[in-house]
Symmetry: C2
Subunit: 344 residues, 2 copies
Amino acid sequence: MSARPPQFHVTADLIALTITDGVLQVAVVQRKSDLACIDIERNGIVQEIRRDSEHHWALPGGHVNVNENDIDHAAVRELREETGIEVDVKSLVQVGTYGKLGRDPRSGRTVSVAYLAFQPKIANPNAGSDAKQAKIMSVLELLAEPNRLEFDHETMLIDAIQRVRDMVITTPIATNFCAPEFTLSELREVYEVLWHRAYDKEISHRERQKYASEIREYTSDNYFQLLSSMRVYERITHGMPQLKFELASMSNRALEEKISKIVINDARRQAPKNPAIRERLDPANFARKVVGIPNFIEEVPQSGKRSSLTGTGRPAQLYRRGSAERLDPPLRLRVKKDPPKDAR
Amino acid sequence: MSARPPQFHVTADLIALTITDGVLQVAVVQRKSDLACIDIERNGIVQEIRRDSEHHWALPGGHVNVNENDIDHAAVRELREETGIEVDVKSLVQVGTYGKLGRDPRSGRTVSVAYLAFQPKIANPNAGSDAKQAKIMSVLELLAEPNRLEFDHETMLIDAIQRVRDMVITTPIATNFCAPEFTLSELREVYEVLWHRAYDKEISHRERQKYASEIREYTSDNYFQLLSSMRVYERITHGMPQLKFELASMSNRALEEKISKIVINDARRQAPKNPAIRERLDPANFARKVVGIPNFIEEVPQSGKRSSLTGTGRPAQLYRRGSAERLDPPLRLRVKKDPPKDAR
DNA sequence: GCAAAAGTGTTGTTGTTACACCCATGT
DNA sequence: ACATGGGTGTAACAACAACACTTTTGC
């Protein structure tokens, strides 16, 4: 090795995923620069072009500080700074490191470490200091025309999804998509969404576009933003005086729950239709399989039950994550192969 | 981000694995420096101490050049320079990136990307320019007293083994441990070895030591080095004149095979005993399961058959790797749980 | 001939799927 | 009352482990 070894820039990038109503979503930001770094031909050559502020996105991330304890600390910090989302370092999963020559056309050579983060439900992301705008976006929409990801972030995202799919079989990370206490159908939704072939790595561009259009009107732009917007709350309290009275007499905790329930119901009514980009798993068999894996999940002792998200149906038992770090045996769910396509 | 982002050293480290006679082995080197960087208390604090040239080892690896196309290229180059082992970039698997502050006490801050490499049978490693010595060593022996790995290479190695175990059930990488053409028992050996609890991540230090001593006399120091040494060949040809004559009349290809057969037989006689750090899988069921996975492996058409490694028994059908990039369904092998220990 | 390994066949057991059925809740 | 989802039961089916048996080699 030479006396003065070469120096690199090291950055941490984050794939912050969440699952909402059958759609896998990811946090993206828009960098301040007027130039966007896009791999136009998808051939590995990234070049700076004039930014399309509607359709050019990047994963949140940035430089690691030399005094920072570990790279994942930088990942957490950058996600907070750029999107306002707060995650625990312990829950991060390293996806891989990307260091191809030319992956960043700007000065110096940059190596990026990509991390996965999970959010039960990502609150409205705030534009931070490092980005003009930040938002949660459906993965399918992001990967479809006319949207583009900067640098090699599309590769990172696809690798990350592949990794999640692998890990939910052998580890309990699927619970990271849920709140600390969850019902079996909430957990099942995670698998149903991830199992859908729209997220297959080797799917055709054409087909992905099709799935993207199915859910286009259903993402953060209208429905999800609306859900957490103040206007909904105002509409509720203004429009229904008797409700306002009822709320005033409730404890803070109960009030929150009540409001969130109303907001959810309202949003559901507003939603054009459920996009349902997901497989269907038999609830009964899923439940048996999941509770049969030692220490995967455990019942919440005081028999608190939660009504289902759709509002109707029998309230379900609550569970929380168990002590297992790996699923043994791994969770195998049937992959329904309607067309028994021959061996390729 | 500041105007002048911080700079890091970036290195590539390699975990080059091979499986021989029921023992998982890894390539290690001894750095030239008189000081070794050891995490003495295994608490993350690496310090420079006087080198014990018998028991202090490091994974092969080194700095990435700024003009190098990708990090894995550097990995291949470093492995060649330090051990003489040649691997294909395409066969590398990225394990992870290690960037904790203080993982390298020498000047500057270093981030290391760890890669897995596979060798069907690693030839005698040559000491390269960057290392006083390089050798292939049993993983168990390396992890047991009094041997120590430098930096955080022990963590890397254990992570790598865990990754291999995960990947052999979902991808065809197990074939990377075999020659291009292999018999089913050669493939089965890979799984039998990797399945052994000696390679469990959460095994006690005490127990690992026990397994290490079982195979101590059986590693590269005597048996494996001997196998490929010239002395064996000389002993054969000198000691048996009639054999020499027979060899002289054979084609180059047949000669090679004949010699390798003799050398293997000889080495087996020399070996104290088979260490057998492996599980036993039912050959019949294993074969059925493996050939049942679409495109995992395929028969070599011209019905070449190879006699088993032990010399006796019916010659087996040869196979080679198929076109599948993932095993679907994944390969599930029974984990015989003799002690039905309760849920932890 | 005997030992050892490759293959093929078979059987009892285990695990899984696909339903039917009852329960508890909101509208 | 009815729709909707939670949860239990179960019969038909598929997958698998275990073991017996035949084949083909080296010694």
